[in-house]
Symmetry: C2
Subunit: 192 residues, 2 copies
DNA sequence: GTATACTTTCAGTAATCTCTGAAAGATCGG
DNA sequence: CCGATCTTTCAGAGATTACTGAAAGTATAC
């Protein structure tokens, strides 16, 4: 009679359900990673470490995600390079464990900082370079005033402004992460 | 003597230099697209239409980017579907032209809105689903209190909060685009 | 030193994504 | 209706990216 209101809750059952829930999350996270230019497996490994909230070793990861040792090793290393997971040595154990940072805000700040550096900064550099290719000192006054050239120059300016502002937002995001990112967020949401 | 201070500026020269600058931008933009999960050619086509600031037809695009008709056609269509370029019929002309939206803020608002819908919303959905798989009504009181399960639940909560706030920021970004996005930006940058 | 336990690397393979080109499908003027 | 012009589609080819598994490398205990 008690069983009609309370689902069966043997530890084995519960563990199975926990795994199901975790896998659901991991799969979805992997899919999302792909559309953001992060390879599926890397995203899945990170999701696994984040969601289980405990250190796992290479074999745990291999087994759980059905991937090879090489694949696991390379992606774990890449995640360490990004700085969003950490290596961990358990005393008395030979093998290495890995754990995810626990603060989502910190994780995404790190990613934001890195992508800004790798992707936004070079674009900004290129835009500036293109603009200089089209200024008077390179083309002469007359040519620089051709309508096509003026038009392209204007578009470059528009794009530069956008990238610069976006960069600043990224910067703020990053520099506020550790000390409670919520400030940035509250300001944003209340002010608008 | 005038030529020593003023670079040669024949229209042909100038056009060549314009093309060089445009190509530089286009290539860089294509590279960036890739790392953000947008295929290189699509990014390049958009960059071309944006930077030339004038309507181009399929053949113009094919020739300029050295791509096939099929490729051009499919990617132009995809860009139209996104809503960041527009079809344009010139009177008296049979063929179709395409032009990019000119306001960068609008372009990125559209992209942000679409990616939110396609990627963030499903993730949020999944997180909620996972949480419900782990609540008391599905596991029973005792099981729901196992430390592993509590830990995963907490991580899901942390992620959900993050996604929700990010969603709101996206939303604001989008709804402010047309009416001068600068408000959002000024608020952000001054407040911090 | 050797044996053991674990990690990393990388050449080859597999999977995925992108592009081409030709054929089929539109659309329009006459 | 036809012929001309332009667009779309899609099967197959090509290019890129990701994965495996075995061999080489590293670290520790003894």
């Amino acid at each position: 009679m008690t069983q009609t209101l309370e689902p069966a809750a043997s530890p084995v059952d519960a563990r199975q359900k926990l795994f199901n829930a975790q896998d659901t999350f991991i799969r979805r996270w992997g899919e999302m990673g792909q559309t953001w230019g992060i390879n599926r497996t890397m995203a899945e490994i990170h999701a696994l470490l984040y969601i289980t909230a405990q250190p796992l070793c290479t074999d745990d990861v291999m087994e759980r995600l059905h991937i090879s040792r090489g694949n696991a090793s390379m992606n774990l290393r890449a995640l360490c390079d990004w700085g969003i997971i950490r290596r961990l040595h358990k005393r008395g154990e030979r093998r290495e464990y890995f754990e995810s940072l626990s603060d989502v805000w910190e994780i995404f700040s790190i990613i934001a900082a890195e992508r800004k550096r790798r992707e936004m900064d070079p674009v900004l550099e290129t835009i500036k370079q293109c603009r200089s290719m089209l200024d008077e000192s390179h083309l002469g006054k007359t040519a620089a005033r051709l309508p096509e050239i003026q038009a392209t120059r204007q578009r470059l300016e528009g794009m530069q402004e956008f990238v610069e502002v976006t960069n600043k937002i990224f910067q703020q995001f990053v520099s506020n992460a550790r000390s409670g990112l919520n400030r940035i967020v509250r300001v944003l949401l209340k002010a608008l």
